[in-house]
Amino acid sequence: MTAGTHPEPRILICGEDALVVEFGNGIDPVTNDRVYALAAAVEAAGNISVAELIPTYRSLMVHYDLELSSVEEMTGFLNDLITSSEPSTDDQNNSPRRIYELPVAYGGAHGEDLDDVAGHAGMMADEVISIHSGTDYRVYMLGFAPGFPYLGGMDERIATPRLASPRVRVPAGSVGIAETQTGVYPIASPGGWRLIGNTPVSLFDPSADPPVPFLPGSFIRFVPVSSEDAKRVAAQVSDGTYRVQMTEHEG
């Protein structure tokens, strides 16, 4: 990709005290990188008028304090940063990938639908596990529920439709597949995703700051573990001694 091929970002008015910078109309890593690059630049600028940022797939919502700033001022502020914050347009994005490892116990009571997913894909359960855990998933954004990661990059060979009838209660930590998406339920909730495993790691802890183990814009790697290892991790999580493994890789 060469300079100038990025679509021109648009600044959209969002009520009396927010603006949205939209970088395009697709879900892709390049667009998402631009969102997080701008978010980082806004934070680095230390503008006290900025109240809160909500980065999503392809846009950044910027809430501001209407007693300290105005639509016009904030538009100018963001325009300046957009120009200076654009990530490298080289073929290789040079910023390192932060990869967080989530241990997952696959199948059985941990993931009741693993065999259905394997059946749908026409492969063995072990193959589904190996494909699912063999990819690093980009955390495009967190939303829907506290700590819920919108992940991208699942291999379409294991894509499976949602359950026709959603479960009333999906346990926290459940790892599931819905169509071409994969995700983890941070808190117990109703849901229709096909459950293939469970992670003992807590994806949302309101007593921690930040309340989530990984930040949007980073990556998740699912690491298959045995039931016994999952139990051991669960014990460490509950006594507060577990730390999610994070490694940095060249982009």
């Binding site: 919108y150 309340p211 989530v212």
Partner: protein
């Protein structure tokens, strides 16, 4: 040690602890939550002498009864749910004194235009463990309030320390009282996806009356009326950030106005965002009420919001004046805020039994000390 100040006798269909919510964590998927009618909550807190961010009980529709288990100064703001204390009607938007054992009831709306949600504020504010900086209850995420849930019979709720004592009979001035119900006109800042609607759909949206559906809740107010179709039926967008007052138009082409318990992101086109000064009226609209939309610029909506902040900051209540200085303060000069007015007080103690003089804003008064008070 905290002592419960209030016992829930009956919570009605939906009573929760709410303050101004927990902003700052939306990027982690944590909803802001908080009072649906933030104006009524702020006024309630200010009336009883609290910081405007204090926690109150939001009572929806009625059916609620509470027992004071210790003496308190409280106020009911927001919807008129026919409040009574020990069976006797009490005024809204006014501080009231309760004794231990007194029973407060909020049973049913006084009329069709009474509003939907009442706020019970108490001096010192209701206490509950703050979660991510707020006591607000978010039922969906089970956060805040009491164990993240609606109030239940026999819940005991403590209050925080009273830092600014006020007297009963303190009233919100008449000209600051909101008018709930009737035909609501909500001013709308167009965007961020107003370009997904053509001129016919936009004209329909701004020229029609919409009826509040009974499927509305703290997440959103669902409206029914003439359809607002997106160009090529493109109502679904790539999920992006949403905010309070945003008007989503999903595939059925009927508006949904997002309220306090909204999610942080959403995948429906947003035709506009309601000015915050008008959102309280939407939050108080009962099913069957009508809402009309009128365009406003972001600048003008900001100006309205700033005016409201200034109004609340400079508010001076009607009724008896009162003020206290806490503790064993040995200072001889005080800056007191009493019912919104500033007083500079300098105390000069008499020598050898002489008079004690208080100079208030430059005027001298002789201070009579009543031992034991």
């Amino acid at each position: 040690m905290t002592v419960d100040a209030l016992r829930v006798v009956s919570p009605g269909p939906l009573s929760t602890i709410q303050d101004l919510g927990r902003p700052g964590y939306q990027r982690f998927g944590v909803s802001v939550s908080g009072a649906a009618d933030r104006y009524a909550l702020r006024l309630g807190n200010l009336l009883v002498g609290n910081d405007e961010r204090g926690a109150a009980i939001e009572v929806t529709i009625g059916g609620a009864e509470f027992e004071f288990t210790s003496p308190a100064i409280f106020a009911i703001t927001g919807a008129d749910l026919s409040p009574t204390l020990n069976g006797t009607s009490i005024a809204l938007w006014e501080t009231v004194s309760a004794a231990a054992g007194d029973r407060l009831s909020l049973m049913s709306p006084a009329g069709p235009d009474s509003g939907l949600r009442a706020y019970l504020s108490v001096s010192g504010g209701f206490d509950a463990p703050p979660v991510l900086g707020s006591r607000s209850t978010h039922i969906g995420a089970r956060l805040g309030g009491i164990e993240g849930r609606v109030l239940e019979p026999d819940d005991g709720i403590p209050t925080g320390p009273v830092t600014n004592a006020v007297r009963p009979g303190r009233r919100v001035p008449q000209d600051l009282l909101p008018q709930y119900g009737g035909d609501i006109v909500a001013r709308v800042v167009p965007g961020p996806q107003d370009d997904l609607f053509d001129s016919d759909a936009t004209a329909t949206f701004y020229n029609s009356a919409y009826t509040v559906s009974d499927k509305s809740d703290r997440v959103g107010s669902r409206l029914e009326g003439p359809q607002v179709p997106a160009i090529d039926g493109a109502h679904d967008i790539i999920s992006d950030g949403v905010l309070s007052g945003a008007i989503q138009i999903p595939g059925d082409a009927q508006p949904i106005i997002l309220l306090a318990d909204r999610q942080t992101t959403g995948g429906y086109a947003k035709i506009g965002v309601i000015a915050s000064v008008d959102l309280a009226l939407v939050a108080q609209a009962s099913p069957g009420a009508t809402v009309r939309f009128e365009r406003i610029s972001a600048e003008d909506a900001s100006a309205l919001a700033r005016d409201r902040i200034a109004t609340l900051r400079d508010i001076s209540f009607d009724g008896p004046a009162s003020g206290t200085v806490q503790g064993n303060d040995l200072r001889r000069e005080y800056d007191l805020q009493i019912d919104g007015s500033g007083y500079r007080v300098e105390i000069t103690s008499g020598v050898d039994g002489g008079q004690t003089i208080a100079r208030v804003n430059g005027v001298e008064y002789v201070v009579h000390v009543h031992p034991g008070e």
